[in-house]
Symmetry: C2
Subunit: 432 residues, 2 copies
């Protein structure tokens, strides 16, 4: 079935995902032709360094030094953008491709999180596809699931483990009792974390993905700037011990909810009940739970990163183009996406875990609880670990449901107490 | 957006799923039009009893007493077949619709399991779609995931919890210690099991779904008759206790594997490690794990039955038709599906759990172990529960990996021993 009518790809960016995509097309040629009704062929490639050995033979493909020129001029139907970054070359490549009437497939979560709505409008106006299955949760077909498989539902909530690096670190910390910095260093050696880990461990990567999922789920323009973002750097082994004691696991969750007051989007360390399905998702695995009004809760889990899984998602988008399957980029036409209507984090309601380091002297607990009382925050439990008049000790408390605004006043008040020696560590509790 | 260009549905069968589908279309009219680019409208309906109150207003729709005539003649683009049954009226409705150039959407797993390849050939020859997302795992978009989302992979294995009734019964048995018959009766009262439960509890329903998944996953013609099927009637509370002791949970799994020697398809009670993701799937929830060569393992879980989830899946197929999205019915064109190449169950390899009721007299265990030795089956453990020279006692053993053929000889040999008072209960162990 492969032949003159093959769909032709120009690939911009030849890192592990680019090389993986070429390897997949080589390995599965006949299968792809059977499934799409036509063959898939790479015709052009572009990367910074032509000489680097990537483990795949690039000689059959036209080489372009300039990926933007390739996107505009190469002999291709689809431009596959695997450069990364929210702006700069990656954005220019996608815009050039759409402008030249080529379909775009990208794994670039930052680009879609920042410019998704504008790119979708341009693609739909130009009659081309813009696929980004690979941008969220690696090989898990969550974009297609929300956009098509669950399209009969109003989605009320989508949440998940969207960053494998953080989930690996939290899993290792729990299983070995080691501190964050040590586990991060090991993750870097194993290739699970970047040399500069901040995008992952500070929650930005998860926030990019969450903003994309929220747009698809709720039919609103991607609104990355409204995502409340906290990372996992401040999680200590002690927090994990306390979580165990309280019947929780700590996960970095991205949570988007549609409420009558607006859309809440937040990424933060979260205590989830140890028997919740999401608590069983360990290591670098990702998982996304979607709640729809007719279907109820659906969970998809799998490999969130890596050359093979990401190439699998890239090719799923390519096969949709090859087979002529079209859907609105964000599930509804881009010109019908609602304007963002963010619910400010201050209006979030929920329960909290707070850990303090305090000088162990009479009256400290009374002072702390007085702050809660003053802001009408109801305490569920308070535990002091150890007694030592010389050294600071750890005190943790959990609250009943309260508002984030009240909680921020409480935290400021506690931080102002003489006996409290470092800023409180806060982890939100989510039982839903 | 709804208007003259709406996609028109004729619905055959107005049970809970039919009524749920009508309710969904009424509730989500604008949303569906936004997502599909055109409205969705029911134009005709057919069922056995016109007068029954189904909680939805049927007066706007043309009523047909004869669903086959409706499929052939009604003013519609899509015939939605929700009658059920592998042959008879349901099959006639689908054939009439395809013959008249109408798309077909069905929730009928028995029909697709028995006649899927022939119907797919007819639909593809006629240029119409045949959607059956609702036939497998209710609202979980597993058909689309395998057919499109994971289409870049060679699938090696697909397995899962495909029958919510059985999973509910096994979950309840474990949590309450009650026997099968009592929990089944309760499930019938709650509406989780049919008055005649045999399709569910004997594994036939799961086998229908497994055969469909295997066809999609491996690109072979649906081959229901090759599925090895065992149900859950013989599972006793004692088996569940022993499973707990041994670190397992008992689940009714459907497992399809592609091997060099052929395709293995089997449905049977299975001991899975208590920390395997699938072990955490409880109650009426379904879950399907797919292993692909590039993507690795992906798990989808959610509601496997019920009016809302099933209607959600029906509508996903309808929206594909409305939006003009087409894929080969079984992932590759029906005339390119491979002929079935079943691996006989006798050649299955794995570990086994066996429970015996024996007269507690000297030499019994020696006789049992001699049978294993004679057939070269290696025992892993043997446990006798209780001692009572008057009454039969329970003995359980587990084996190392062995062949099904050898194991069947062992079971026949054991069953022939004087001291063994009832046929052995066998549960396969699956650690993968």
């Amino acid at each position: 079935m492969a032949g003159q009518d093959r769909v032709k790809l120009a690939i911009a960016g030849l890192g592990t995902v680019g090389a993986g995509t070429i390897a997949l097309i080589e390995a599965q040629g006949d299968l792809l032709a059977d499934r799409a009704g036509r063959g898939v062929a790479v015709t052009a490639v572009s990367a910074r360094d032509r000489s680097r050995d990537r483990g795949v033979d690039l000689s059959p493909f036209a080489w372009w030094d300039d990926p933007v020129a390739m996107a505009r001029e190469a002999d291709c139907d689809v431009v596959v953008e695997l450069i990364g970054g929210s702006d700069g070359v990656a954005k220019a490549v996608c815009e050039a491709a759409i402008g030249a009437g080529r379909h775009v497939v990208t794994a670039n979560k930052a680009l879609i999180a920042h410019h998704g709505a504008a790119l979708a409008r341009a693609a739909e106006a130009g009659g081309v596809s813009l696929g980004f299955e690979a941008a969220v949760a690696g090989g898990i077909p969550i974009i297609k699931a929300i956009r098509e498989g669950l399209a009969g539902n109003r989605i009320e909530r989508v949440h998940g483990i969207l960053n494998g690096t953080c989930n690996y670190i939290l899993t290792e910390m729990r299983e070995t009792g080691r501190p964050f910095a040590e586990v991060l260093e090991e993750a870097q050696k194993l290739g699970y974390a970047e040399a500069d880990p901040s995008f992952d461990v500070d929650g930005v990567d998860a926030a990019h993905k969450l903003a994309i999922l929220a747009s698809l789920a709720f039919g609103t323009e991607v609104d990355f700037t409204s995502v409340h973002i906290e990372g996992i750097r401040r999680i200590a082994p002690l927090d994990i011990d306390f979580a165990d004691e309280l019947g929780f696991k700590i996960k970095l969750l991205g949570i988007a909810e549609k409420t009558a007051e607006g859309i809440s989007q937040r990424v933060h360390p979260t205590m989830v009940p140890v028997d919740a399905p999401i608590a069983a998702v360990e290591g670098v695995t990702n998982a996304v739970e979607t709640v729809g009004d007719f279907v109820g809760a659906t969970v998809l889990q799998g490999a969130g990163a890596g050359a093979g899984p990401t190439a699998s998602a890239v090719i799923a988008d390519v096969l949709d183009v090859a087979a002529g399957r079209r859907a609105p980029v964000f599930g509804v036409p881009a010109d019908r996406l609602s304007a963002p209507a963010p619910l400010p984090m201050a209006r979030h309601e929920g329960a909290y875990y707070v850990r303090l380091r305090v000088i162990d002297r009479p009256g400290v607990i009374a002072d702390v609880t007085a702050v809660l009382r003053d802001h009408k925050v109801s305490m569920e439990s308070i535990i002091q670990r150890g007694r030592d008049p010389e050294e600071p000790v750890d005190v943790v408390m959990t609250t009943h449901d309260t508002s984030e605004a009240a909680m921020q006043h409480v935290l400021a008040g506690i931080d102002g107490l003489d006996a409290v020696v470092e800023p409180p560590t806060v982890i939100r509790i989510d039982r839903s």
